[in-house]
C-alpha cells in the first residue's frame, strides 16, 4: 500500500448502482482509489476514467524480441557456427526456421506479458493482499477512497457516497 493509510470504504449491492455511483462520486470531486468487484463489470474502466492498458505494447516488444532472438539463434547456429546440410536444404533455410521463430515469439510475448502484469499489479508471491472488505469476494462491490489523496474532508466524502447509492459507508485504517 503506497502512502495511503486511512480510507473511506463504500459498499454497493448492485453493479448498476455502482456504475452510476462511480460517476456521481467522481462528479462530486472525490478521487477514487480503487473499486473491487466479485465479477467483471462492463463499462467500469470507462466510468473510473482509466486509460487504456499499455500491456499490448509490451506484448509487441517482447514478441519482437522473441522473433529476433529466434532468427539470430538459428542463423547463427545453423548458418555460421556449425553449418550442416540437412535434407539437402541451404544452411540458412528460412522456411524451416519459421516454426521455431513463431514459437519463441509467442513464448516471449506471453511470458513478457504475464511478468509485466505481475510486476505492475504488485502480485509478487510475498505481497500482502489488501483487503478493504472481505465481502468484495462474495456479493458486494467495494469502493475505496484514499483520504490522504483527497482534499475534501471525510464528512463530504461520506455524504457523497451515501447520496450515490452506497448501502454502507465504513472506515478502513492500515497501520
Amino acid at each position: 500500500m503506497e502512502n495511503g493509510k486511512n480510507f473511506v470504504v463504500g459498499i454497493f449491492d448492485d453493479e448498476d448502482i455502482l456504475l452510476k455511483g462511480i460517476k456521481s462520486v467522481r462528479q462530486a470531486g472525490v478521487k477514487i482509489h480503487e473499486v473491487y468487484s466479485p465479477f467483471p463489470v462492463h463499462g467500469i474502466e470507462d466510468a473510473l476514467g482509466y486509460n487504456r492498458s499499455r500491456l499490448s505494447i509490451v506484448a509487441f516488444l517482447f514478441g519482437l524480441t522473441g522473433t529476433s532472438l529466434a532468427l539470430i539463434m538459428q542463423i547463427g547456429m545453423m548458418g555460421v557456427d556449425w553449418p550442416m546440410i540437412i535434407g539437402g536444404k541451404d544452411h540458412i533455410a528460412l522456411p524451416a526456421f519459421i516454426p521455431v521463430t513463431f514459437e519463441l515469439t509467442v513464448l516471449l510475448a506471453a511470458f513478457g506479458m504475464v511478468g509485466t502484469f505481475l510486476v505492475i499489479s504488485n502480485l509478487k508471491p510475498w505481497a500482502k493482499p489488501v483487503q478493504f472488505d472481505i465481502r468484495s469476494t462474495d456479493d458486494k462491490h467495494v469502493m475505496a477512497i484514499d483520504l490522504g489523496k483527497n482534499k475534501i474532508d471525510r464528512a463530504a466524502i461520506e455524504s457523497a457516497l451515501k447520496a450515490s447509492g452506497a448501502s454502507e459507508v465504513n472506515e478502513k485504517n492500515f497501520d
Binding site: S56, F60, K89, P95, I98
Partner: protein, 426 residues
C-alpha cells in the same frame, strides 16, 4: 425497436453499372491484347479439344473459373457466417445479420455459371477430363489419373465418358446450400413479421444442419473445383486452405459493406465494439489463412518429394507466377497483420476501409494462383482481362447483394438479440 430500410438509390446503381461497364471494356481490350499477344490464335476462337495448343479462349475460361469459384465462395460464406451466428447464439452480430444474409442470393447465379462453364470448357480447365488418359495401352494412358477416375466418373468409371459423380456433387452442393439458405432467409423474414423466438429456434436448427453439411461440402468442393486441376498432385490441407481463403475474404466483404453502409448513413447503432469484433475476425483469419498456407508449404518444402514439390516449382520457378506468389503473401498476411494489429485500427472505419478491399483483392489473387498455373501453364498472365473480369463479377455480386438487401428491412428488428448487439461493449 430499430427499423431501418436500405434504399438502393439510383446513384448507387449507376456507380455499380459504371464499374461494370469499365470492367467489360477492360475485359474486351484484354481479350484483344491476349489474341494478338504472339501466341497463334485459331480462327473461330472456339475452345479446341485437347487444350494443348494455347488459344485465347482458354484464358477466358480460366478467368471465368477463378471468379466463379471465388464469388461462389463469398456467397456461401455469407450463409456460413449467418449459420455460425445462430448456432453459437451470438448477440453481437444481430444488427448486421442481414448483410451476410444477402450474399446467399448469388448462389443460384454462381451455380448455373459454374455448371455451364464446366460443361462447355471442361477440357480447357481440367486435365482429367481427357478420355485418352484412361485408355489402357494408349499413348496417353496415365496410371495415376486412371486410379482416381472413380472420384470423377462413378458409376460409369469403367468406361469414363461423362463425369456423373463430379457434376452430381456440384449440383447437390449448390442445391443444398441454396435450399438451406432460402429456408433460413424465410424464417428470418417471418421473424420480422411475427416476433418471438420460434423463428430463432428454427434458424438454430437449420443453421446446425447447414454447418454439418458445409463442413464436408466445403472441403470436397475445394478438391473438385480447385485441387483436381493439378490432377496428379494432392494436399491434405487443401480443403482447409480454400475454406480459409473464402472465409477471410467473406469476412472482409461483410466488414467492408457494413462500413460503407455506415458511411452512407445506415446502421448508425452499430457501435465501435461491433466493428472491433469484425476487425478481429478479419485479423485473426488472415493469420489463420497464413497458418494453413504455411503448414501446406512447409511440409512439402521439407519432405522434398518431387510429385509434391511440383506444385510450388510451377509457381516459384516461373517468371509469371513467382511475383504473384510473394505479392499474395504480402497482401494477405503481412499487410493485414501489421495494419490491424492495434486495437484502434480495428475500431476505426478509416483503417477497415483500406484493409478490407485489399484483402478481398488479395484472396482473389490467391485463387488466381491456385487455378492459373495448372491450367494455362506458361501461357498465363496478369493483364486487363483478369482485372476486367474481376470487376465484372465484383459489380454483379455487389448488385445482387444490395438489391436483395433493399428488398427486406436492413435490420432484423425482431431478432431476440438485437438489444445485446446495440449495447455490445468490449
Amino acid at each position: 425497436m430499430i427499423e431501418e430500410n436500405f434504399d438502393f438509390s439510383a446513384a448507387a446503381k449507376k456507380k455499380i453499372f459504371a464499374y461494370l461497364g469499365i470492367g467489360v471494356l477492360l475485359m474486351v481490350v484484354g481479350i484483344f491484347m491476349v489474341m494478338n499477344g504472339g501466341h497463334g490464335h485459331e480462327a473461330g476462337g472456339h475452345a479446341e479439344e485437347g487444350g494443348h495448343a494455347f488459344n485465347w479462349m482458354q484464358r477466358v475460361w480460366v478467368n471465368l473459373w477463378i471468379n466463379n469459384v471465388y464469388f461462389t465462395g463469398l456467397a456461401v460464406i455469407g450463409v456460413f457466417f449467418v449459420a455460425i451466428q445462430y448456432v453459437s447464439q451470438a448477440g453481437w452480430s444481430a444488427g448486421i445479420i442481414r448483410i451476410p444474409q444477402s450474399f446467399g442470393f448469388w448462389l443460384p447465379i454462381g451455380g448455373i455459371l459454374m455448371l455451364a462453364t464446366f460443361l462447355v470448357a471442361n477440357h480447357d480447365l481440367f486435365h482429367w477430363t481427357h478420355h485418352s488418359l484412361y485408355e489402357e495401352g494408349g499413348a496417353e494412358f496415365d496410371e495415376i489419373i486412371n486410379g482416381k477416375k472413380g472420384f470423377f466418373y462413378w458409376p460409369l468409371h469403367e468406361h469414363p465418358s461423362f463425369p456423373i459423380f463430379y457434376v452430381a456433387r456440384m449440383v447437390i452442393f449448390f442445391g443444398v446450400w441454396y435450399w438451406l439458405f432460402t429456408a433460413i432467409r424465410k424464417e428470418s423474414l417471418k421473424e420480422d413479421m411475427e416476433g418471438g423466438t420460434d423463428q430463432w429456434r428454427k434458424m438454430f436448427r437449420l443453421s446446425a444442419i447447414f454447418l454439418v453439411f458445409f463442413a464436408v461440402s466445403s472441403s470436397v468442393s475445394a478438391w473438385d473445383w480447385v485441387m483436381s486441376i493439378d490432377t496428379h498432385w494432392f494436399s491434405t490441407m487443401f480443403g482447409w486452405y480454400v475454406f480459409a481463403s473464402w472465409w477471410v475474404a467473406g469476412l472482409a466483404l461483410i466488414t467492408y459493406i457494413v462500413v460503407l453502409l455506415r458511411d452512407s448513413g445506415y446502421l448508425s447503432f452499430v457501435n465501435s465494439s461491433v466493428l472491433h469484433d469484425l476487425g478481429k475476425f478479419v485479423f485473426a483469419f488472415s493469420i489463420f489463412w497464413t497458418y494453413i498456407w504455411f503448414s501446406q508449404f512447409l511440409l512439402i518444402y521439407y519432405a522434398n518429394i518431387p510429385e509434391e514439390t511440383i506444385y510450388f516449382v510451377e509457381r516459384l520457378s516461373s517468371d509469371k507466377y513467382a511475383p504473384v506468389f510473394f505479392v499474395n503473401l504480402i497482401l494477405n498476411f503481412f499487410f493485414p497483420f501489421l495494419v490491424l494489429m492495434t486495437r484502434a485500427s480495428k475500431r476505426h472505419e478509416r483503417f477497415l476501409k483500406i484493409v478490407c478491399p485489399i484483402i478481398i483483392f488479395g484472396h482473389w489473387m490467391d485463387f488466381y494462383l491456385m487455378i492459373t498455373p495448372g491450367t494455362l501453364k506458361e501461357n498465363g498472365g496478369f493483364g486487363l482481362l483478369e482485372i476486367g473480369m474481376l470487376m465484372v463479377f465484383a459489380s454483379l455480386f455487389v448488385f445482387v447483394a444490395l438489391s436483395n438487401l433493399a428488398k427486406a428491412p436492413l435490420v432484423a428488428k425482431n431478432h431476440p438479440m438485437l438489444e445485446e448487439s446495440v449495447h455490445h461493449n468490449i
